[in-house]
Amino acid sequence: MSLFQITLTIAMAVLSLCLLLTAIRFAIGPTLPDRITAFDLIVANVIGIIAIYTEYSGNEDFLDVAIILSVFGFLGSITFAYYIMRINH
């Protein structure tokens, strides 16, 4: 196991820990905007995990998944924000 693979494993472990902590904030978030920001960070974390897995496996097709995920994460945040705006006005 080379130094590169050890680094990728450490990075994957730390990103998984980040996902767990974000899920805690998603569960206890007092208001709905807190949960939307937690969702934003979950999407960013998953993009990072996909990038590291692309590097780990050497299969470069997974990058398309990251592109689509970045687009849909933005759409999800905007949609939730307008939803909250609508139900209160």
Partner: protein
């Protein structure tokens, strides 16, 4: 042969350093999300930290593969993230201000006060405002949700 080997080692080392830097920024952003006392400070921590972390991780990936088409995809993802993350943060923070999301008690609101007074947003609601509103609506309409 020796030059190819050295190029491989250099690519791996540079990619390792960039990925570890990006992961560190991501972890700091997550700790900020979990520990900050206020919605707005959490929002600022996430927007900056996660943008920089994702950018560094993806640049490390592009350097490791060392091909033009992958670098183009990586730059596309980075450009889209850097454009859309501030926009999304702005929209969500504006929605939170409109919904009277509470500020931290030590926040300096001196210059923000006239806007709140002008928009009639001076009263700050509690944390569990959605639950309180739902209970109030249920009490007003005991027959159940007729109109949704």
């Amino acid at each position: 042969m020796l030059q190819d080997y050295e190029l491989q080692v250099i690519k791996e080392v540079v990619s390792c350093v960039l990925i570890l830097g990006g992961v560190t920024f991501m972890f700091i952003a997550t700790i900020g999300l979990l520990r900050f006392p206020d919605f707005y400070t959490r929002m600022s921590a996430i927007t900056k930290g996660s943008s920089l972390g994702v950018g560094l991780i993806l640049i490390g990936l592009g350097i490791y593969f060392n091909q033009p088409d992958i670098m183009l995809k990586v730059l596309a993802i980075i450009a889209f993230t850097f454009i859309t993350a501030p926009v999304a943060a702005h929209v969500i923070a504006r929605t939170a201000v409109r919904n009277r999301s509470p500020f931290w008690s030590k926040t300096n609101l001196k210059e923000f006060k006239p806007y709140l007074d002008k928009e009639h947003l001076e009263k700050v609601k509690n944390h569990d405002m959605y639950r309180a509103e739902a209970e109030a609506q249920v009490e007003q309409k005991p027959n159940g949700g007729g109109d949704t």
